[in-house]
Amino acid sequence: YGFTLPGWKKTKLTYRIMNYTPDLSKEDVDKAVEKAFKVWSAVTPLIFTRILKGVADIMIAFGTKVHGHCPRYFDGPLGVLAHAFPPGRGLGGDVHFDEDEDWTTGSSGFNLFLVAAHEFGHSLGLSHSNDPRALMFPNYAYISPSEFPLSPDDISGIQSIYGSSQNTPDKRPTTPTSPKICGSQMSFDAITTLRQEVIFLKGRHLWRVYPDNSEAERELISAFWPNLTPSIEAAYENTKDQILLFKGNKFWVISGYQVLLGYPKNINTLGFPKGVKKVDAAVCNKSTGKTDFFIGDKYWRFDENSQSMEKGYPRLTVDEFPGISQKVDAVFQQKGLFYFFHGSKQWEFDPIAKKVIREMKSNIWFNC
């Protein structure tokens, strides 16, 4: 992390929303901004109060290209999304969002809450962090709203300026920041076997399950693989005692918990055409040595022996796996059977009989 001292000399700060974006309702903007301030007040003694007129410490506005007296300009869609100024008078603390972006409350476009939380970090005196898991990393990365967006690096940074919230009751979310594994809506980003274990990945966390005794250990992904970004999208164990992890158009190969040198590589080195931008799920059938990559409603087949994509793909998933008609979030093989996951459900599939045997909740593998 980095910071520009001296920060604000007071802990009670005011903010004012000067205008709104047509992309969202006013309520959504108000809520996103309030929630973004709560991220920082949860880990510091800072208290944020909204005012509706007059000059606030943190003035928030949407603008395009050259906007007001701001010395920095926006650049149209994409590129620069927003900026903010460190604590101080005049422009100090102010936050500007580029109205030429597509502001959303979800994972499409740019999530206003996440960008606002980042910019408020600057308004409080933080500069950019070079830790890719940090909220204060310069590049935009979507994080599931159920996750608390601050990484340990962010928290250390802001507390080096304002101290922790020890003199006020700790306002960090009481619920653990990892998703509730036994929640009825629990879904997963990716799942892979690893020798005797099954590893479930979601956001920043992973759970290692030993199916025979359904014990589960939760860990931070960064505890295993410090340089990996959160929210892995697909994972599988190949025939060489390695696992491959996928995010966007990149993949990593891991052998014995070590990320192999030279990774990440682009997925088109596996034989995907340029148009393929990401993989939803993947599983290697240990009996055939073939790996199926699931993307949307189709799948590609990769031969682990020849290390090449087979001809004649992609094909419709439902043709080879009758009953698996929705997008595959995650899939793994256990004792010869495939387990396909979508949302909070999973389907046990017999690849020989080519039929779904049963449908279950996604988290039956945990001792819920």
Binding site: L81, G88, L91, P132, P138, N139
Partner: protein, 80 residues
Amino acid sequence: LPIHPEKNNEDAKLVQNYLNKFYAIEPDPNQLGWKINAESADEKLQKMQQFFGLKVTGKLDNETLEIMKKPRCGVPDVGL
């Protein structure tokens, strides 16, 4: 910048713009005097590659260019 001639000038402009925006020492907007940043493009490029954990060569490569094209915050990566 040591950019290969075949690199279209759009990338060249993007790189120049990126380095000037995020790796030039930005003066404090509330002060009158604006310091001109004399660092060369190679030095700025090396700083950017170091910040993002890339191979620090001062030469433009695909990985560096890819990072520069990602949507990001407009605050410079080097101190005010």
